[in-house]
């Protein structure tokens, strides 16, 4: 039996069509994926992301331990609330998961990891923490709501005023001051200017028993509930990878277009996978993850093979129909020496695809 998030009843009430996603009952859409997608690109939408796993790490040894655990360097987190995208690698340089790390206060960090990888992440983290002076605390009592879109700022202000009239002005002052990839704690809410859509927006972690009230305040502020379907089309258009599709333990940051998230300086930082990745860092990886566009009719899907003539040069890792571009887009992993366009096998047909950059849409506009 799949678990329910604290917003289960809100989804039912909003007409959500629920599916099992990594052991959670979550809405795939509330009627129309395309309407939800467009709401986020043009106005504002919200997602229940309570299934994601929040892990707090605290103690004197937290910082040096995270510097070993993560491929990106948490010493880049200077001010309380600063956030950082990183991979968590095994010793072979394979990607165990991707995550966001926040500095909450000195010696206290928060990791937000994927739901599908929760068990293996916790196992790995626990093993890595053996004998280290830190506490690891899974915050399963927290719900999380992502509010995304060009009107997210205004909608959140309206919703927060209704959610807690006293103190809303002060809270709003702090939220308004957030830069991208920064978070703050106000009135028991942990609000981060982060997201998975390529639009402005916020991710709000809050106590489970407040989630329904917050959801209804956001609904009243005109925010469109959005399901997992729109979450996938939005992230793909925005050039953002999905763990399990575009990366996993058999891939590395360098063949997953995530080399930018590996911090090689300072040289003495011995993060997991550093030695294994040194060759790819210096000489490049054998494969690369690129964007693809299908100009003909059809839909690119994960697993479809890419060819140049008779030679198989790669495969699609994530594909969908782009509601913004009105054609199919995808990410694919392809031999690094391959340049230019190729063909995709869709059922019995081979169709030409264009190789592109991975970001297709930013701030509502096709690139």
């Amino acid at each position: 039996m799949a678990q329910r998030t604290p917003l289960y009843q809100s989804h039912i009430d909003a007409g959500g069509k629920l599916v099992d996603f990594s052991g959670w009952q979550l809405p795939i859409h509330y009627g129309s994926l395309i309407t939800e997608h467009q709401a986020v690109r043009e106005n504002v939408g919200m997602f229940d992301v309570s299934h994601m796993t929040i892990i707090d790490i605290h103690g004197a040894g937290a910082k040096p331990w995270l510097q070993q655990l993560l491929s990106n360097d948490v010493s880049k987190l200077v001010n309380n609330g600063d956030a950082l995208y990183s991979c968590m690698l095994n010793n072979d340089g394979g990607i165990i998961d991707d995550l966001i790390a926040y500095l909450i206060e000195p010696s206290r960090y928060r990791l937000v990891v994927n739901a599908a990888t929760r068990e293996k992440d916790l196992k790995w983290i626990t093993e890595q923490a053996a004998g280290v002076d830190i506490n690891i605390e899974e915050k399963s009592e927290l719900a999380m709501i992502a509010v995304q879109g060009p009107a997210s700022h205004k909608a959140l202000e309206t919703a927060l005023t209704a959610f807690r009239p006293d103190g809303a002005a002060l809270a709003w002052q702090k939220i308004s001051a957030l830069s991208r990839y920064q978070a703050c704690e106000v009135n028991g809410l942990f609000i981060a200017a982060t997201g998975y859509t390529g639009e402005e927006g916020y991710e709000i972690a809050l106590a489970a028993d407040l989630a329904e009230t917050m959801w209804s305040c956001l609904t009243n502020a005109g925010v469109q509930p959005c399901g997992l379907g729109a979450r996938d089309t939005l992230r793909l258009e925005a050039g953002m990878s999905l763990y399990g599709n575009d990366m996993d333990e058999t891939t590395t940051p360098y063949n997953s277009a995530l080399g930018w998230s590996v911090a090689w300086q300072p040289e003495e930082r011995a993060f997991n996978g550093r030695n294994a990745l040194a060759g790819e860092y210096k000489n490049g990886a054998k494969q690369k993850l690129c964007g693809f566009v299908l100009d003909e009719k059809g839909v690119l899907r994960s697993g479809q093979l890419l060819y140049q003539g008779d030679r198989q040069v790669g495969a699609i890792t994530s594909g969908t129909y782009s509601p913004t571009l009105k054609k199919s887009i995808a990410f694919g992993r392809i031999d690094s020496d391959h340049e230019g366009d190729c063909e995709v096998q869709i059922r019995r047909n081979r169709l030409p695809v264009r190789m592109t950059r991975r970001v297709f849409v930013r701030n509502g506009n096709p690139l």
Partner: protein
């Protein structure tokens, strides 16, 4: 849920309309289009192809997934709905009329009688959910 009484149905959620000339028109049901969500691409069968009942002959793709459409009876493909190339959403908005997928000439005119009637289809989808 719209399940027109005059049509026949399959357990794979196609509807079948018997035309005056003995040909049949095939589409997907209102229930099916609702389950699939917004359709963005339809691959219709090749006209004149000889097909057997339950062959996968067409594909409808929503944003999320591709689904096969099966021939409800044995016969030849007589026509495909060309309008769906540019307007696949017709299957969502008008599944029983402008959203039809293809027409067939059945080899055996009585085969259609073995398909579900509206009442049987309604109880079938009730038992599925």
């Amino acid at each position: 849920m719209n399940i027109p009484a005059e049509l026949r149905y399959t357990q794979s959620h196609e509807w079948v309309r018997l035309n005056d000339d003995g040909s049949i028109t095939v589409g997907i049901t209102d229930h099916a289009q609702e389950q699939l969500g917004d359709l963005v691409f339809v691959e219709t069968p090749e006209v004149d192809a000889e097909v057997s009942a339950q062959d996968a002959v067409a594909v409808v793709e929503s944003v999320k997934a591709a689904s096969d459409i099966y021939a409800p009876v044995t016969g030849s493909i007589a026509e495909a709905n060309g309008a769906l190339a540019d307007e696949p959403e017709l299957v969502n908005t008008d599944p029983y009329n402008n959203g039809w997928l293809f027409q067939m000439q059945p080899s055996d005119g009585t085969e259609i009688e073995q398909l579900l009637d509206a009442e049987a289809y309604e109880s079938f989808i009730g038992s599925e959910s």
